[in-house]
């Protein structure tokens, strides 16, 4: 199945609108940090990295939603899925290869902005960023992109239109946090803590979250997140195995 990865990269990166559009979108945030570092007399390296981490993570989540949803829906929407199935490759491979290629695509989208942020940090001077802060500059956007990308890819797998897939993925990703908040407030705090956006945020920030009277540990979050990812990919596999093209 690994032999299919180059073809999948060609598809994901070849969609220039979503790929380069996302790269430019995320890059603009890195550019903003760079401009701030150049023009501001109070800028310091550590603040540049810290600011860049937050901004780029936000931008990458949106980009990953678009790229992931498109990766999930594109072949069905454009009628190419039936020709992939006609190659005789097991259908599960057609799903898994997308999941495997997505982190690389997201990384390529985020790297220019991360590079610009590192450049801003070195230009700003002053207090240098710590090793952990630099690690977070890579980890936070890439982990966010991976998690939200896979979630969106799974959503895209269930829809037959790229535009609808992107719209639904955006709404569900952001509404998810709102729904989790409502469940937390009115139904069950434990149940809310199991929601994807909550556990994802714990894993992305690598910090336990403390509610009013309970704590969601990092370890528990990782376990729940893995369950979510397995369920999402499993649902996609089930969908593709059953679907008629």
């Amino acid at each position: 199945m690994i032999d299919l990865l180059p073809a999948e990269f060609k598809r994901q990166i070849g969609r220039k609108g979503s790929f380069y559009g996302s790269m430019v979108w995320v890059g603009l945030f890195g550019l903003g940090v760079l401009i701030w570092a150049i023009v501001s007399s109070t800028s310091t390296g550590d603040v540049a990295v810290e600011s860049g981490t937050g901004l780029i993570t936000f931008a990458v989540i949106l980009a990953a939603i678009v790229v992931g949803a498109t990766a999930g829906s594109y072949d069905v929407a454009e009628g190419t899925m039936r020709y992939l199935v006609l190659t005789g490759r097991p259908r599960w491979q057609l799903v898994i290869v997308r999941v495997l290629a997505l982190p690389v695509t997201v990384t390529l989208i985020a790297l220019p902005a991360i590079g610009l942020t590192l450049l801003a940090s070195s230009i700003a001077g002053g207090v240098a960023p710590s090793g952990t802060e630099v690690f977070d500059l890579f980890y936070s956007p890439l982990m966010s992109g991976l998690l939200y990308g896979i979630l969106s890819l799974a959503i895209g797998m269930f829809l037959k239109s790229n535009g609808v897939a992107i719209a639904v993925a955006v709404v569900l990703n952001f509404a998810g946090l709102l729904i989790a908040g409502l469940i937390y407030e009115f139904v069950s705090r434990d149940l809310a803590n199991g929601f994807f956006p909550i556990v994802a945020s714990v894993v992305i920030e690598r910090e336990a979250t403390t509610g009013a009277d309970e704590t969601l540990s990092l370890g528990t979050s990782i376990v729940i997140l893995i369950v979510w990812l397995v369920a999402l990919v499993g649902a996609s596999l089930g969908r593709v195995q059953r679907a008629e093209y």
Binding site: A7, R15, V85, T87
Partner: protein, 309 residues
Amino acid sequence: MTDHVIRLNGVSKRFGSLTAVDDVTVDVPAGRCFAWLGPNGCGKTTLIRMMLGLARSNAGTIEVCGYNVPAQTADALANVGGIVEEPRFYPYLTGRANLQVWAKHYGPEAAARIDHCLDRVGLIERADDTVKTYSLGMRQRLGVARALLNDPKLLILDEPTNGLDPAGLAEFRDLIREFVDEGRSVFISSHILGEVQKMADDVAIIQHGKMVAFGSVDELVNAGKQKIYARTSDAETAAKHIDGSPGIGLVTADEHGGLTIEVEQVSDDLLKFVGKALYDNNLPVFSLYPIHETLEQRFLDLTDGEVSL
């Protein structure tokens, strides 16, 4: 491979209350061009999708290249190349890059065949242009190139002549005959009946999901009504003299002196009989010839004129 490249036995497909394919049984011989004809929406594409494992049947058994579908779909597909509904590609990639994507799914041997396949369909010159710049006819040809990547024994082509200009149609017809001459089997669906008559060896006609006729093109055409046409000065009078004679069926006269005579079997004797009947009654014979039914006329007869051309 068996003598029959496709075997369908009692195959049915329902979508809710609609029966798209209704109890179709047919054996498609290997090494020939088989055409699947029917009005739009009669179930042709649904049947093709089931044969390729893209859709599941509700009843019946399907065997492609000796393998049961869906139980052995992967083995069956290893011997098959196809176009279903219409050829779809990644429009942002070049023709060559598109074939590279599919070749990756087939394996290295398919990758080595890309240029050969592009050349075979006459697209090698445009191989490095993005597919979004291709005409429908070019995408059809690229679809055939993709179908050839795995060097299939059986080509299943759904409406492959859509979008082809007259020159493209002639080239495509030659290409199909080349495939058959190479020993491949070709299964096409088409509504361009004149083209099918020229390229196919065997034909099945489907209407409302049911197969209504099956046989060689010649058998089907010859099984239709046979007619003789004559033109004289007074068709009404001529009709009275000919009507009711042995071997003569319905005689229809038109206002231009034309007579259309249905016969059991066109023969020289019958032609001579009609000519003599006119002559003996002092009716001049301006023209006299047998009417050869085309596949299109036969198709219209069998489907009660229900066709979307």
